[in-house]
């Protein structure tokens, strides 16, 4: 992203673009959450981008050659756990708490304590990571591989995170990888390579994604090695993904040390698997791609050095771009043109190509204004249907990246865009 060199406040400019492009709802509170890598109120384009990122993550973990990864889904709340033992946030019944405050005058101290204990008994814990759920599910799925290593359990979902003395939430993806003790360090390297390659695959400036080893003194819990994949934001480096080599102690702890429940075959030996945990924050990942793909280009209109003469283009990778095609109506018989637009919109949506029905917006805008708007949204192609389309079937297709306009037949558009995105995917 060329943003930082051009804009006096690149953070503000990036957050504003997220709002202007309909990725995030307007309001300071949403921008703050976004900047901290938390879920906020996403708009239609933000939701589409996040969904696509998660899909691509699932594709990559499931398809990595000759590995066995099973997807699982565990609940957000845990029951039947010793409440709060692990410092997880608790969900409590607000009615009991409010009633307690109302009754406080008449209650003795002992009665108040008793009410709080009742409250605790009926509480549930909210998860703060996806690792624990996968460890607890290990014994349910290890038979799927006949206790043969290695294999993995993958999950994506929300985890509750601390935020200013209170809490927010982030969309995590987690791969918990079970392998033989002597291979765990190699697997950590393997997944680091794969994951860094994945982040860079969709980047415009891949070098802003990098990995670094966690220094030994910063290792926490039972981690024997750690790697972070980080991104350089205008406000500093932030961690997108954590990879930990955790040994066998977390698994042993989860199963109270009952080795028979957890041991696996490594060739002819029985071993307690070692765990490699690979966790990324996809809310922050979205933000990294937004920043990475934003380009400020000078307009060729002679008015150099004016802020207004910059073109902001969100050059998201064709696979990630939330809107592949925007449909606009030019001059001509409104009713007929609208029918062509609707027909093409349906065709695109049915082919799984996300399209934006710009023709429904009846505010009159110049083509220049529309291009500016769609470039900020990161729309890959803008299609203009006008009275010439009714005569010849030809319409104008403008590319975000080349800014070139081409004439294409209405029947070619869907196939052309699909091939373009597929081509970019396989590059």
């Amino acid at each position: 992203a060329c943003l930082s060199e051009e804009d006096p406040d690149p953070t503000r400019a990036l957050l504003q673009l997220c709002v202007d492009g309909h990725y995030v709802a307007p309001g300071q509170v949403h921008s703050d959450l976004l900047q901290r890598g938390m879920c906020c109120n996403y708009g239609p384009l933000g939701l589409e981008l996040k969904t696509t990122l998660l899909e691509q993550w699932w594709r990559s973990v499931k398809r990595s050659r000759s590995t066995q990864v099973f997807g699982i889904s565990t609940p957000l709340q845990t029951h039947h756990r010793t409440s709060g033992e692990e410092g997880d946030p608790l969900v409590v019944d607000v009615k009991i708490l409010n009633q307690l405050l109302l009754d406080a005058e008449e209650l003795s101290k002992a009665q108040i304590i008793q009410r709080i204990q009742t409250l605790l008994r009926l509480s549930t814990s909210l998860r703060t990571n996806l690792l624990q759920g996968a460890l607890e599910q290990y014994s349910s799925w290890v038979e799927l591989v006949n206790r043969r290593l290695p294999f993995g359990l993958a999950e994506s979902g929300l985890s509750v995170q601390p935020l200013d003395g209170s809490r927010g939430e982030a969309t995590h993806t987690s791969l918990v990888w079970f392998c033989s003790p002597q291979s765990s360090s190699q697997w950590l390297d393997h997944w680091t390579r794969l994951r860094l390659r994945w982040w860079r695959k969709f980047a415009l400036a891949p070098s802003e994604f990098s990995s670094r080893d966690v220094p030994e003194k910063e290792l926490q819990g039972c981690a024997s090695r750690g790697v972070k994949i980080v991104y350089s934001f205008p406000w500093g480096q932030e961690t997108l993904e954590n990879l930990w080599s955790l040994g066998d102690s977390e698994l042993l702890q989860t199963y109270d040390g009952v080795r028979a429940k957890i041991q696996c075959r490594d060739g002819r030996k029985l071993v307690i698997p070692h765990v490699v945990s690979v966790v990324s924050n996809m809310d922050r990942g979205m933000m990294a791609y937004m920043h990475n793909s934003l380009q400020l280009l000078k307009k060729h209109d002679g008015k150099q050095k004016l802020y207004q003469s910059q073109r902001k283009v969100l050059k998201l990778h064709p696979v990630l771009a939330p809107v592949k095609v925007a449909l606009e109506m030019g001059r001509g018989a409104t009713l007929e043109l609208r029918q062509v637009c609707e027909g093409l919109l349906q065709e695109l949506l049915e082919a799984g190509v996300s399209a934006w029905p710009g023709y429904m917006d009846t505010t009159s805008s110049s083509m220049e204004q529309l291009n500016t708007k769609y470039d900020q949204m990161g729309v890959l192609f803008t299609v203009v249907i006008d009275d010439k389309t009714l005569e010849s079937g030809l319409l104008q297709v403008r590319s975000r990246d080349s800014t070139v306009r081409e004439l294409k037949h209405v029947s070619e558009v869907t196939g052309f865009v699909r091939r373009y995105v597929r081509g970019a995917h396989n590059m």
Copy 2:
């Protein structure tokens, strides 16, 4: 589903099948949650089925002809709301609560109350539905349609639900539809028709999905009309989807009656939109399809009336079946066959066809046992690769639904399965 007539305890049999087919983790607690339409620990097949259902829901709401629906995503936790006013569950810091209990001896009653008030101030609310979030986001996205009715905001995600004095969670999909006052009743009928058609589209026995009007005396809050889409489970009818015509009062309430913020254009008039809410529980929906597609067929082996002589086949719609192809290895040179299996697995996964690497399981099972297993998992096609495949490229493809085995060339399999599923989708 023919289950209820054949099995003495159809509920138990259904829940057992969910476990045997790797849809749900073993354990009574997961089965209980599942039966109540709550999220539980899903296994690889359950996760895939739920993901597919959600995808199909998004396709259907986005593609319904000439309507404008925008996807949004709102956080699970709300900050800055008067805590607990609405009876939502609260998330509190367990450390403060535990410390309070530890210190209780030395604290006065007033101090305890003060600590509880601090706890409340730092708490967040968990959502119990997706409606409120969409109403709060209405003003952010209404400009996308130039305040022109109708349009909708769609979201899928978790909502916290009461469960035995405590709480669980369910995966909801929500369409909040904003329309002109005089059209709201027609829109309610429109969405009921569309949604019932959607549920039935993937059903083996469509008549077990039905809709019924909510009697006037059962209407809650500001609902003026309501419709439920229900499914007949062995343990009784349960609601899969609620459609409510809510009028304008919820929207007015959310915006403190400030009409300028919410009014829209209906032709030339300015109106306060009416809200139609369409909410379904996809955890329960999954369970409905599991039940609906389970068939108990008598085996043609002469041993009639024995429980063992029944074939259990999970005839999930081809679009919903979580595993389209299971790959098995027959007799022959192990290493070479394994390479063929891996090649085909990669090809299927890259084409987006979910495949089960049965060949990795080295437990020796007869073809009969494998077919029984895959029928219970609802696997659409079982492919057997053996030494003949190495000679001629031919392999055996068995269909779950016809039980017919056909020889196909290894290069044809992926295309064949894709066409089969697409064909079933368009039917």
